[in-house]
Structure formats: C-alpha cells, structure tokens
Symmetry: C2
Subunit: 343 residues, 2 copies
C-alpha cells in the first residue's frame, strides 16, 4: 500500500440543500416529504442507476447495513419521512428529510476530495434542474442548522492514525487542526483507540468561503497529518520495533485462527494488521489493499449478518450475537488468508 | 495421537540406593563422593554410552538444561559432591550424591512404566555388581529419608489433564488418588493450571510392597485417570465446543505468529494446541506427536537458549530474557508449522 493510502481511508463531500417554500423536515407534512424523495429520484433517472430506500419501508438490518457503510446517518433512521437514494457503486448517497430536505454526498476510497467534490457538484446541478433550492443571494444555501448555511458543504476525510495514537501525538494534532477550523472525531465511536485508530477530519466553516477554498484547506490539513503519521510510524518502529512486530503477528494469528470474534476485538486487531501491511513496515503482505479496507465494513454487525447469515438461513433476523461472532471469525479468516500472508 | 498417549506424557521409575559403609551424602567427605561417581560410571562402561556431568565442573546453563529435561533435580544443583551420569538417549540418568548416594532413573515417553522398571532394574544390577548397596534383609534398601526405605522405588507418570482441570473435576480425582497411597503434583510449578495442565502421579509407599506391586498399583491408578480425562474431554466438547474451538484456534494462531513469547504464555497456549490435537477433537493436525511433546521441553528457558542462543552467539551466557522470548517465539512458530496445521 502506498504511503498516502496507508493513512487516508476515504474522502467524502456532502452538500446540504433544502427545497424553497417548504418547512424544514421536522415540520414537514408526510405528502411533501414523499414528494421530495420522488422528485430527487426522478431527477437522477438519467444519471445512473439509483435505488430509492424509504426508511419506513425498509427492514432494520438493511438500514443498519447502509449505516455501517456510511451511506446513511443514525439520524435518518429516526426521520419520519426519511429516504436514501443510493447509486449501485455506493459512491453517491442522497439522504432525504434527514436534518435537511436533501443531503447529497459522494464518498470515494483514498485521498480524492477534489474528485468527490466534482462528482457531487455535478449531481447537485442535475437535482437543481428539477428542484428549486432554498437559496439567499447574500447568505447562500439555507439550511436547517445555521452552522451549515452558505456552501452547505462538509468535506471530510477518514484517516487511519495508529502511530500518532500510540505515541500520544494525536492530541496535539487535534488541537492544531482545530485552530485551522477543522474538526476531528472518531468514526466508529468518538475517538476511541480500541476502535481501530480511525479518525474523521472535516471543515467547520461553511459560510464566507468558497467550495474550492474548503477543499483546499482540508487537503492541506490532511497532507500535514499524513506527513506527521508517517514520521510517527518510522519513529515508533525504531523505538519499539519488537513490540510492534509482536502485536502485528499476534493480530494476524488471531484474526486468521479464532473461532469467534467480537466487533470490538476485530477492530483492534485489524488496526494492527493494517499497520503491519504498511510498506514501511512490510510485516504483512496484502495483495489487494482495497479488499482489506472493505473487510472493515463487511465485518460490522449488520454487514456480516447480511453476508454470512442470509447465505445460511435465507433469513438473517434470528441470528444471535454469539452466532454472529462465529460468522465474523470465519469470514475474516477466509478473507485475510485469500489476500494476505505474513511477510 | 491415540487416546492414551494424548493423556500420558511420560513414565519414570527411580530407585534410591546407597553405598554400604559410607555416611549419607550430606555428611560425606569429598573424596568419597568423587569415588562413588567414578565407581558407578565405570560400572556402566559396558552398558552403553554414558556421560559423567560433575556439578562443580558444569556451567549453570548446561545444568538448567538437564533440570528442565527432568534428568536431574533442583536439589542436585546444591549437592556438594553432586554428579549425573546420563546416557546418550537421555532415557537413563543416575544422580550421584543428591539425597542418596545413587539415584537411578529411567524415563520413557508414553505410558510404559513396566518397560521403564525393567530397564532401570537391569542397570541397578549392573551397578550392584561393582558397588555394595546398603541393604537390610528385613527392611530392604536403606535410604537417607525413611519414606524411601524398602524398595527405594518411585514410579511416576506425567499426565496431561486439561479437561479434568477445566471442568474442575481434578480435585476429586486428586483426593481419590491420595486414598490409594498415590501423590499428585504439578510438574512445572506445583499444580498450577497456567503451567499446561500437567500433573505427576506417583506412589507414596515403598516399604512392605514389591516393585511389581508398586508398578501395578500406579498402572491401575493411571488407567482410571486416563479414562476420566477422556470422558471429561467428550463432555467438555459437547457442553463448550465453541469456546474450545476458539481457544485452540487462538493458541495456534498466537504460537505460530507471535514475535515474543514468555515461558508461561507458551505453556498455557501449548496446552490448548495439544488439546486441539487430541484425535477426539481433531482441531489441529500434528504429523509428529513426539516432536510436539519434545517442543514443551525445548521451549523452556535454558533449553531455548541452548538451542537458539549458541547458534547465534557461540556463547549463551549474555542473553537477556527479552531476547530469549523472541528466540522462543521464532523456534516455536517454525517447529509447529513444520509438524502441524489447523484441521
């Protein structure tokens, strides 16, 4: 895995939009809510294959699968008129009636903020041809929460920062990044180390700044974080190489041999496998880094049941947590052995 | 591994003898001590290739290697005129001037008490031709400690009892065995579970009973313990199969992938690998069970330094515990992979 990709997991740009003349979602009448979903879905008809998922018509497992893939938010699950319009590649997701009427996002693997922005900007134009956005010439796009007014844009990058976490360098970087008007938070459970050293960095400011300026400022911030993480990895290996080799080896050994594996343990151990796969360490050889990253999502509770459970039962609803942990262990072991080995 | 051999590790018979007309070792003059060693060594000249190891002329590492192999005792290391005469196959060891002048033992892999007795009885006769044993027609062989008077014999079997330990059945069996005049103790650190579920069962009584009766009574006791352990294994797998599969898998994963491994952790994990290799479980496939058992000794602190350290340095004396743990991990992983695999 090249250096940058071993630090940046994915890039995401989201635009918040609302329909002119309608109250914000929490005050919206049911028929209007359904209408927005239909209008947006119709608008995208010629832009690719999209699926419309209405929250009220979906089962819990399918919604949890989408949430674990970062395609919908926790809040959408509780939205009365919520829906999500998602393309087949699962790179574009339009949430309807979450906090705003329309939240358009593009999420891409690796460090590709600019590409994600161009993609979602195109889709924003396509939707804008059919839907009249609430827009103020002075303020910009109007949003439910004032913090999103202006561009309505959030550019965020998911990062894997094990060395900065292990060497306790992460806090000073979080502080530095905050002074640049950026936010850092954990992705699977707010900033917890055990959850795989994964952090999400995004802009705070959306008003009085152009979309291009936002992308560029986040890009700069990510670049310096990548540099810091890579320097911390070198330092960590020099000072603590034996311990790193040991933890990486054990993580690989357990993930390829356990019979049962909880999500938390998987996340902790997977972080060490990923760290071991970093070219600068070369402790684990991975032939398909994208597949490795995909496994992190696939092993989450709803996704693993979706993959393994349906195959076994035709129905995933009655699967116990203990059985799920056994499925996870089996799937993780099989997948890791198919794409990797100890170096 | 067949059922019996997956429970019985080794069989040992030891005979305590003293030379007529000399004070017991703790009162013995140096020249007499050396004389006994020489007489016994000379007596064995025609019975195979024996090596004479004088404690005072040996380095600490070599003595620790012998101790970990159960060829000499801790007490011999402190004996003023101590020596050990050991055959090349390391099945026969004669300790000189430990508690008694002469302690003859034969140790064989598996459940072969009778064979071990016949072997050491032959050697006892050979030595007895050159050395006049202290013998009383009424009491039998005279020994330093009254508990050994009579036959001077101890027949002991080293057993691997994981299922009886894990199901807490071990205590009632220890009590039952004690009522049959047998002793049960841990081998690597008195009865501690963490030390690999290994126990040593031996006779207490040496007086007023023939050698054949001792062998037969220990044999009977071992047979019922083997039966109880195998029944406990079946029960354990039925009640707790998922947990056993998980612990065995993880143990294999860590032992074949860790970069550093302490003796204690090795013993705990190795116990699960051995349990997984039991035919009734079939979780680990081992092509050479004797090699697996030998690894338990090879991974002990002095033995691992003896094997790996000398190869690296030509001198094993300056090897730190941390470095030893790394050597152990490497040697264990290499050995296990060469003789085994996950089933």
């Amino acid at each position: 895995m090249n250096n940058e990709n071993s630090v940046v997991i994915s890039s995401r740009v989201r635009l918040a939009r609302n329909v002119a003349g309608l109250p914000f979602p929490h005050k919206l009448r049911r028929e209007h809510g359904a209408m927005i979903a239909k209008q947006v879905y119709d608008a995208l008809a010629k832009s690719g294959t999209y699926n419309l998922n209405r929250v009220s018509a979906s089962n819990e497992l399918d919604l949890d699968v989408l949430k674990e893939k970062h395609l919908i938010s926790e809040d959408l699950l509780r939205a009365e008129n919520g829906a999500a319009i998602i393309n087949d590649a699962e790179t574009v997701s339009i949430m309807i009636n979450e906090e705003d009427h329309i939240r358009e996002q593009c999420i891409l693997r690796g460090f590709r903020l600019d590409e994600a922005y161009r993609e979602i900007d195109k889709i924003d134009d396509v939707i804008g041809e059919k839907v009249k956005y609430a827009f103020d010439p002075k303020l910009g796009y109007l949003t439910c929460c004032p913090t999103n007014i202006g561009t309505g844009m959030r550019a965020s990058v998911m990062m894997f920062l094990p060395a900065l976490s292990l060497t306790n360098g992460i806090e000073s970087y979080v502080n530095a990044v905050s002074r640049l008007n950026m936010t850092v938070r954990g992705v699977y459970g707010e900033g917890s180390k055990a959850d795989g050293f994964i952090y999400q960095v995004s802009n705070c400011k959306t008003l009085g700044i152009s979309e291009e300026e936002i992308i560029s400022s986040v890009d700069n911030c990510i670049n310096s974080l990548v540099e810091a993480e890579l320097a911390a990895r070198d330092k960590l290996f020099r000072s603590d190489g034996a311990a790193i080799r040991d933890r990486v080896g054990r993580a690989w050994g357990i993930l390829t041999n356990a019979y049962s594996l909880s999500t938390d343990e998987f996340m902790s151990l997977m972080a060490y496998v990923k760290l071991g796969a970093y070219d600068g360490y070369g402790l684990i050889k991975i032939t398909d880094p994208d597949r490795l990253e995909k496994l992190v999502t696939e092993a989450q509770p709803a996704n693993i049941v979706n993959i393994s459970g349906k195959a076994l039962d035709g129905d995933a609803s009655g699967i116990s947590p203990a059985r799920r942990d056994i499925m996870r262990a089996s799937y993780v072991s099989k997948t890791l052995k198919s794409i990797g080995s100890r170096a």
